[in-house]
Amino acid sequence: MKETTLNTTAEVLHQNALGDPSTQVSASGLSRRQWMMSSGALVVSASASGFLGLSALSASVDARAQASGVKPAMNPDELDSWVAIAPDGGVTAFFGKVDLGQGLVVALAQMVAEELDVAYERVNIVLGSTDKTVNQGGASSALGIQAGSKPLVQAAAEARRLLVEMAALQLGTTTADLVVNNGVVSSKSQTGKTVSYQDLIGGKYFNSKVEWNKKLGNPLEIKGKATLKKPVDYKIVGQPIPRTDLAWRIYGTGEFVSDIRVPGVLHARMVRTPMAGATIASVDESSIQSVPGAKVVRQQNFLAVVAEKEWDAVKAARLLKVKWTPPQYPMPANEENLYEHLRLAAVVKREEEVKVGDVSVAFKAAKRIISAEYHWPFQSHASMGPACAIADVKPEGVTLWTSSQKPHFARDGVANLLGIDPKMVTGHWVIGPGSYGRNDAGDAVMDAAMLSKLTGRPVRVQGMRHDGTLWDPKAPASIHTARAALDENGVVIGYEFVSKGFSRVSIESNEADPNDSLVGMEMGLPARNGVGFGVPGDAYKFPAKLQAWEVVPDLIKQASPLRTSHMRDPVGLQIQFASEQFMDEVAFETGLDPIAFRMRYAPSARDQDLFAQLRDKSNWQTRRAYAGPQKGRILKGQGVAYAHRGGTILAAVAHIEVDRQTGRIWARKFTVAHDCGLIINPKGIQYTIEGALVQALSRTLYEEVHFDEHQVKSVDWLTYPILTIHDTPESVDLVLINRPELPPTGAGEATNRLIPASVANAFFDATGVRMRQAPLTPKRVLAALKDSSAKTKIS
């Protein structure tokens, strides 16, 4: 009787695990392990109220829950949504964010392996796709470790707890008697009594709940009953484990999103207006009749060509003749009068994010006031390749292949665009040609979905170069005014910093709202023109401090090539270029060395430690004022900058050389001191900091979107130059401050905000001239060296 019951139960389980009744095997095919698991669960359950006691009761309930081959729905409160153990013992963790190439998968695998007590090599991380991961917000604000790892760590610890309890039941001992090594659970008291994770649950599901805070996106958290390991016991976390996810790129054996091939696909190229804000008057379809199979696809101002072959789509896009109706008014600014425009522009919204004391009182009491204004241009993501996406819109469901760094929101955006339930849409995340925020990938996937709907075919759309440079959402241009109030002893008694610029979220940083996409706007959805900016990240303790921002209207509302959104360390470079140059200006005006000034006003122990280590490592030369003119063609200087970002604190010293004949700056050496709490992988942090530094250096020295009243003029690498290998620093020295007692915070984009001011401050040290407008191009450098009027205004 008992035998029959057990066999039936196990058979059902097995059948469910295979998912197909036709492949079910007979009960007699059950393994000893399966029988034991079922048997153990039944026996313990039956006697749960008896002699096993309360803690054993809960253990038995948990363990019984595990004997299932049915995967529960992919909800955040299911352990199986986060971690799985394969029949071979391999561990998969499901990450609802993505890794854009910084090696996040390695760090995450280390954290999962640590809590589960398995070898690092056994852990695989599944990234971002909407059918395999819950929405953790996609790549966002360098939160991959800081927030994104938390559910994975909790799930790994909870899985370990359950597995140890299962092992206790199976081995007939207590959990206290068990140790885990590399996924094998062993009794401490009885040698040879062992069972592996795969024998406990391989290929099956935990079917166990975890607590979920009912939030999706970045704030999503879960909690199991397990106690997490203490950092002091970490063996895998903290190790410089090398990247395992790079070889496929180097050997060319894997796929970027543009390498995905879908049978029956149509190739598309978007045709967007040569004049910002223009609308389509007419399209001459006969202009592409020479191209085999090429067709025009149009809905209102959304216009594309499609063809069976990619080259034909490219040709058709070039040949297509379109008459455009210019907008009623051109844009109210161009690159020449941009900062004057910003100064005078109406304020849509002002927000005073940091308010300490009363700055108006401080400025009234001041014996001296120092003030300065700084300018930062529009910048383009200009990713290595223009975006590509593939969409297959069918009545029974929509499939997307997207490199959007927020695939769950891209899914929602496509569903909203097409007017269908997001459950009908599956978004496969595939890495694209670089992503540093909301670049052109978000528009590509929305374009592809609309084109697939309109053509009834799967559509692959890839941009041409201008789609990635002219048409990507831009990092906002801004002006920043800073004032410091000094008392009679030169002590800072008040500080005011106000940014005025275009919104950081004129279009949202994710794609969920189709009003934020070009296709939506081209088809008549009104732009949202969202409002937001930011304030400096620092910990200066001035008695009165005001940090505020003001956002001005977009230059055009609908489908603007200058619509603004997030680009790596959104508004951090703009703001800190100004705020950290200003600190240098105030330091020298008050006769203090720039590092000494920062140490004086940023008194926290972590800041002090940071500055002290940076000063030593960088071989900083004390300066209380400009050291005076240098002889020779090459002028040398040092400059410091400091920042906080999302809990990470950091500072850098730049050593630069200025060629006074060519105006070229070579940032020869950087020293970066970086404190992001617990370090998961020091090698990963090194590469991440280096990449962030070099990219920010490019934005500091070269990058500026050119435009006139009618259109963006930066369309390629000649009109939007970035740095070259010649600009690579000779060395980057790091001071990585590890604080195992503190949770890890972001390293992915904190360094970026140090670079502009560290270079500009070094430029002042070299030349005695302030560069208050970025980028520091050779042309601007030569002009500044000629014009010595660029001096701090002192009243």
Binding site: I250, M464, R465
Partner: protein, 173 residues
């Protein structure tokens, strides 16, 4: 080369172009003005090289034509008739890596990786031609390539490491 005129008078250049890719003979039917990049990717289904700009400004599309690093995005296939093309997968493999590939893996080079084809193919041709290239010669040879993620420090470390390894092995003696 046969020239066909359709009923509307448009000129259709249709022809067959033959060349070798990574040692294999291939034939492409179609527009001889089609850039090699599209032939490799769309007609032959290869994942490397990459489209980066279509303007020969970034290097993502670099292949070797008879050993010379060439931008395939602006090179019509008519120009490579009967020539020998090498792509990234022809440069080396995980089993038989080119020293540059081995060095890039060791030095953990690149972030997103979309540009890596550019650096590997260009550096391979450069070191083949000038095995003893100085650091400034290496930089000069790579200066027209883009990397948007800012992996330049690691790229330079890896190229120098590969050069050292190649010289030590006498690969380029």
């Amino acid at each position: 080369m046969p020239i066909q005129t359709d009923d509307k008078g448009s000129v259709q250049d249709m022809s067959t172009t033959s060349f070798k890719v990574d040692g294999q003979s291939v034939k492409i039917d179609g527009d001889p003005q089609m850039p090699l990049l599209y032939a490799l990717r769309d007609e032959l289904g290869m994942n490397n090289p990459k489209f980066g700009c279509g303007l020969a400004q970034c290097g993502a599309c670099t292949v070797h034509v008879n050993g010379v690093a060439t931008r395939s995005c602006v090179l019509p296939i008519s120009a490579v008739a009967n020539q020998s093309i090498t792509t990234l997968t022809g440069l080396g493999s995980p089993e038989h890596p080119h020293p540059l590939q081995a060095a890039f893996v060791e030095e953990q080079v690149t972030q997103c990786g979309y540009c890596v084809n550019a650096w590997l193919m260009t550096a391979a041709a450069l070191l083949q031609k000038n095995p003893h290239a100085s650091e400034s010669q290496i930089k000069d040879g790579l200066k027209d390539l883009k990397c948007r993620c800012g992996s330049h420090l690691a790229i330079l470390r890896a190229v120098k490491k590969a050069q050292t390894a190649m010289l030590a092995k006498g690969v380029m003696a």
